[in-house]
């Protein structure tokens, strides 16, 4: 058995360690979800205090994470919890059970402990899966739908599922098996029983179902709703409404409402104030898109002609301005308690966005390659404000304090950069790069390429200048380009990590969980 992989073989010893950790956890105020580094840090601290525990390094990590979650899990109703048991508890030769792809279907023959555990869990209302290996666990954890998992398994399997659980911020408690050899395994029943039955009032505000929320938010952008807000019988307003309706992802309004829910726990009912603010955020976003398309000379958006192609540039410019006006009007007329705060956030966002855009536009005309720092700054300025406005609106509506606002601001900065890096990478993952990317659009990949292989960048540039179109495809196949993409991917990982790090001081678990999940949705793994 490898170092740190041990598990004491007696319930009493296990209990003793659990108590130690309980005391430690109480002192250090662990707010879930903890990132891997944090868990490792805490187990290191514990080992310093109790050197004899060094054998159980991994177990400690598991237990610390459990304690971070325990209060939240206690607040989750039994019927929203999933119990994951490993197949290896079953009788290795005589188990009569059949399987489906999710796992073993226990026939309650009583030859192993599963029968007892399952009936107990059934009685409480758990959903139980007896899985072979980790497929079902991984699927569940990454579905983004699971509200809580109590998992029994070997330390090996936890190592694999831990990152998934962290990524989706799934409230979870893991109980290790006594043995690691996949056969006739045993679990500490005292421990398991204790965990299974835990149910308390807690500071958990409820799981936020982003999918249902999304459907709900979409309704606020139906034509009649928009007409009610904007008025009608005016051709310019008609164009604006039409533009607002196109592409209904509604990310930003969704973010705002989700943050609001994380604080208030009141999922489902939203008054006019909230709806107007949601629309105002979308107005700002849609206005910036119209203007962007003009600046970038893009002909299509959402697979349809851009506004300035459908009409003309002056009309499009004007509709963009109209939407900005509506945005501020919606805030002013929202009836929200903190209108002044909201206006400040919105106008600062607006300003920062324009400054970021400005830096890019001015750079474009002088055809000089940007440095890495400049690019990251542009990335951040261009994207972070829109996220920040949405997040801050939700927080302000729910009377969040300054500290939270500061955390949200840091989170948005890192998030915006991660988002743009991903976008940049996605451009390089196409079959060809259409526009001369590093003259029209700042790209981290090409900057990194230029840093290491300036001659390649020069070659690309020369050929493009001569009107050589095949370079757009060829360029993507160069090893040097792939190398730069790899380096960019690493930076993406780093910025995603930074985004999560910014949440470290957050004391509010529901919000911390939500923001962790949002990162994953906004900047998904590719």
């Amino acid at each position: 058995m490898s170092f740190g992989n041990d598990l004491p073989q007696h319930p009493e010893k296990l209990k003793q360690i659990r108590d130690l950790i309980r005391d430690y956890a109480a002192e250090s105020e662990l707010v879930p979800p903890l990132q891997e580094e944090e868990v490792i840090f805490h187990s290191g601290e514990l080992i310093q205090k109790h050197p004899e525990l060094f054998l159980y390094q991994k177990l400690l990590a598991v237990m610390i994470n459990n304690y971070a979650w325990s209060n939240i899990v206690a607040g989750i109703p039994f019927n929203r919890r999933i119990l994951l048991l490993p197949k290896c508890i079953s009788h290795s030769t005589k188990c009569p059970a059949k399987y489906d792809e999710l796992g073993l279907l226990c026939e309650q023959c009583g030859l192993c402990d599963l029968a007892g555990i399952i009936s107990q869990a059934d009685e409480l209302g758990y959903h139980t899966i007896v899985s072979e290996g980790t497929t079902s666990a991984s699927l569940l954890l990454s579905s983004g739908q699971v509200e809580c998992v109590v998992g029994v398994g070997c330390l090996h399997s936890f190592e694999r599922s831990f990152p998934l659980a962290v990524k989706e911020a799934v409230p979870s408690i893991a109980i290790p098996l006594y043995n690691n050899d996949c056969k006739d395994s045993k679990v500490d029943r005292i421990w398991l029983d204790e965990v299974l039955a835990v149910r308390n009032e807690s500071n958990w505000k409820g799981w936020i179902n982003l999918d249902t929320l999304k459907t709900l938010v979409k309704e606020w952008f139906a034509t009649d709703k928009l007409i009610a807000l904007f008025g009608e019988n005016d051709p310019t307003i008609d164009i604006a409404i039409n533009w607002m309706e196109k592409d209904g992802k509604r990310w930003r309004p969704l973010i705002m409402v989700a943050v609001y829910d994380a604080f208030t726990g009141k999922s489902g009912e939203y008054d006019e104030t909230i709806q107007k603010l949601a629309v105002s955020i979308e107005c700002f976003h849609k206005a910036s898109l119209v203007h962007d398309d003009i600046a970038d000379e893009d002909d299509e958006r959402y697979g349809k002609p851009t506004l300035h192609k459908e009409y003309d540039v002056p009309v499009a410019l004007n509709v963009g301005d109209l939407l900005v006006g509506y945005g501020y009007q919606m805030i002013a007329e929202s009836g929200a308690k903190h209108i002044r705060k909201l206006l400040k956030v919105a106008s600062h966002g607006h300003r920062d966005l324009s400054l970021g855009q400005g830096e890019e536009l001015l750079w474009r005309s002088n055809e000089k390659l940007l440095t890495q720092e400049e690019i990251l700054r542009i990335f951040s300025n261009k994207t972070s404000p829109a996220f920040e406005v949405a997040l801050q609106f939700g927080a302000i509506l729910a009377d969040a304090n300054e500290d939270v606002q500061q955390i949200i601001s840091n989170y948005s900065k890192a998030l915006g950069i991660a988002y743009q890096i991903k976008d940049d990478l996605d451009d390089f993952r196409q079959d060809s790069i259409a526009s001369g990317f590093n003259t029209v659009q700042p790209s981290l990949v090409s900057t990194l390429l230029n840093k290491k292989h300036p001659e390649k960048m020069q070659e690309w540039f020369d050929r493009m200048q001569k009107g050589d179109t095949s370079i757009a495809t060829e360029f993507l196949q160069w090893d040097e380009t792939k190398e730069a993409m790899k380096a960019t991917e690493e930076m993406l990982v780093e910025y995603k990590r930074n985004t999560l790090k910014s949440l470290k001081p957050l004391k509010h678990p529901t919000l911390k969980i939500l923001l962790t999940r949002l990162l994953n949705r906004i900047v998904p793994e590719s």
């Binding site: 197949k87 399987y99 489906d100 959903h127 290996g133 739908q145 050899d181």
Partner: protein, 286 residues
């Protein structure tokens, strides 16, 4: 050249009956037919492959052991077998055993033995490449990196010894039922043909990703309980039937009565144009 005979005893925590192996060995010895006894082929192939030289190079061979499909792929996957080698594989309890043996030449030498002394229980997957479609589900699934992929995309078992004793999970994940664990207790995971009910591929994994997880799980639980109940009822019905027809003779009688008295073939093989179907004979005959 005469056929070379091999018998695998599956000794290392094996799954085949020792008695059947012993019986086969005695039969061969009585008939004075030479054979090579392999204590554990799974183990020897992996740990001391050179010991199996005679099997790999035999031009014409018969191997008795566990499931034919398991042994065949076990040997094929070693990549050591010479091309022109024709090898037949039979289960030690194969019904045709007598027939097979009756065709063997006698006086072909003394029995030989290939030992397996390692303490490691050879438990690892064997891929049936006639079935595998290279989807890599097993590779992604295995926690212990037993599988890997070659440059040409073939999925291979590259770290057999990493495989966890008694864990056949990847075999269940495989949509092609292409993974064999020769020492597993159930068919088709052991290389047998299965009874057709195993590994029923439902779309539950997809449902979990696209629908509400909780409702999918509740429905699964309900379905299962219903099927258990049905099972119970079925068992009860069977017992009742057994109780009311006392003894096997009576059952036979019942069957006899149902058969009609025509002399067409359809009693044994269904025929489409049998006239006893429309006559006043008992139609159940067809």
């Amino acid at each position: 050249m005469s056929k070379q005979i091999f018998i695998c005893g599956c000794e290392k925590d094996g799954k085949i009956e020792k008695e059947s192996v012993q019986k086969l060995r005695s039969t061969l010895e009585e008939k004075n037919i030479g054979y090579t006894y392999i204590e554990d082929m799974c183990g020897t192939i992996l740990k001391n492959p050179d010991d199996l030289e005679s099997l790999y190079t035999a031009e014409d061979a018969i191997v008795f052991g566990c499931q034919a499909r398991a042994m065949q792929h076990l040997v094929d996957n070693s990549g050591k077998k010479i091309e022109k080698n024709v090898t037949e594989y039979h289960h030690v309890e194969d019904e045709n055993q007598e027939e097979v043996i009756s065709q063997l030449e006698s006086n072909t030498g003394e029995p030989l033995k290939i030992k397996y002394t390692d303490s490691w229980k050879p438990w690892y997957p064997v891929i049936d490449y006639e079935r595998c479609n290279g989807c890599r589900k097993c590779l992604n699934f295995c926690l212990f990196s037993v599988y890997s992929v070659e440059d040409d995309g073939t999925v291979v078992v590259s770290a057999s010894a990493n495989c966890k004793d008694m864990c056949p999970a990847c075999a269940r994940v495989c949509p092609q039922n292409a993974i064999i664990f020769p020492k597993h207790a159930e068919s088709p995971i052991d290389g047998g043909e299965g009874d057709g009910t195993e590994n029923e591929k439902t779309d539950i994994l997809e449902q979990i990703q696209n629908e509400d997880v909780y409702s999918v799980l509740s429905a699964r639980r309900k379905n299962f309980q219903v099927s258990l109940l049905k099972n119970d009822q079925f068992k009860m019905a069977e017992e009742e039937r057994r109780a009311c027809c006392s003894g096997p003779d009576k059952k036979e009688e019942v069957k006899e009565e149902e058969k009609c008295d025509c002399d067409c073939n359809c009693k044994e093989e269904p025929e489409s144009k049998c006239d006893c179907k429309d006559g006043d004979s008992n139609s159940s005959c067809c």
